[in-house]
């Protein structure tokens, strides 16, 4: 049986990875979506194994120790990571698995799964990205400048990816990602 594909969607913060990822879940329900592990508290309605695998700090550090995470990061005092088991099992069963993660994490995954399909989500322009980062809320100018500089650094990592998809319209971005998955299944390796 042919193995499934690992499909990684990433891109600079503010580009709309989450929104595109959610739209893709509706459009391609046959894809398996990776579930992250986290040490943060479950929010109302969140289910263990569905939204996240909820772990104590001790459990999470143990997973790091045992190399059970493809990548992980600390964000606002909590750990987030991608459990290796679930990804490997899905692929071995011949199903595709979809990961939506940060740029640095994606490059970590690439080290472990060089045969994965790495898709970089692009803003239509840098101005557009600035508007989206600014539009998030009531951040100070310093915070916006910092986020923008991080985003520009992240943009420079695009060269390590296989595909670039412009997020001009969610439907179009989804169609491009779907096309990439179909095409990769037709590829002669």
């Amino acid at each position: 049986m042919a193995k499934g594909l690992l499909i990684v969607l990433s891109g600079p913060s503010g580009v709309g990875k989450g929104t595109v990822g959610n739209a893709l879940r509706k459009r391609l329900p046959e894809l398996t979506y990776s579930v992250s592990a986290t040490t943060r508290q479950p929010r109302q309605g969140e289910e263990n194994g569905v939204n996240y695998f909820f772990k104590t700090r001790g459990q999470f550090l143990d997973m790091i120790e045992k190399d059970e995470l493809l990548e992980y990061a600390e964000y606002v005092g909590n750990y987030y990571g991608t459990p290796r088991d679930f990804v490997e099992q899905t692929i071995e069963q011949g199903n595709d698995i979809f990961l939506e993660i940060e740029v640095q994490g994606a490059l970590k995954v690439r080290e472990k799964f060089p045969e994965g399909i790495f898709i970089f989500l692009l803003p239509p322009s840098l101005d557009e990205l600035k508007d989206r980062i600014r539009g998030r809320g009531t951040e100070t100018q310093a915070t916006i400048d910092h986020r923008m500089s991080v985003a520009v650094d992240e943009m420079n990592l695009m060269q390590h990816y296989d595909y670039a998809v412009v997020n001009d319209e969610i439907d179009l971005a989804c169609k491009r990602i779907e096309s990439i998955i179909i095409a990769e299944h037709c590829k002669i390796r």
Copy 2:
């Protein structure tokens, strides 16, 4: 300006290249379709420069001499070939061009355009291909056997292509080809 892509659809005789190519013309009118040169007589309703570029034998031999054809072949006493100019101009203008040709011809084109996208159209099975070759008409068993053996030889050339698309249903085959074109435009080169 980004160059256009050269997209070549090929596959064993009897697989349905022509049918899929025609369905694709309706589905993707924005693609430019390569027009072959031929020495055969125009049929009722065929227009020069639309269906074919009609050439005398002398003109055609002159094109071969001047390396103005990407590939050519003789078939039932007539020459057929792909004029290089039209392909190159279309690509330079930033438009994609689509070629639907025989397996051997496609490999000749690959020598001149290694950066082209080469798609191999596959029958759902060898039995299915045999049915299609047999179903064409009133050929003798010897002719069917010969065509089948040529088709099997052609199948072995699939490894030189980039993508394999199964022609199980015309709509599905067209969707896969469209997906390959969209994905190739997203590729980071």
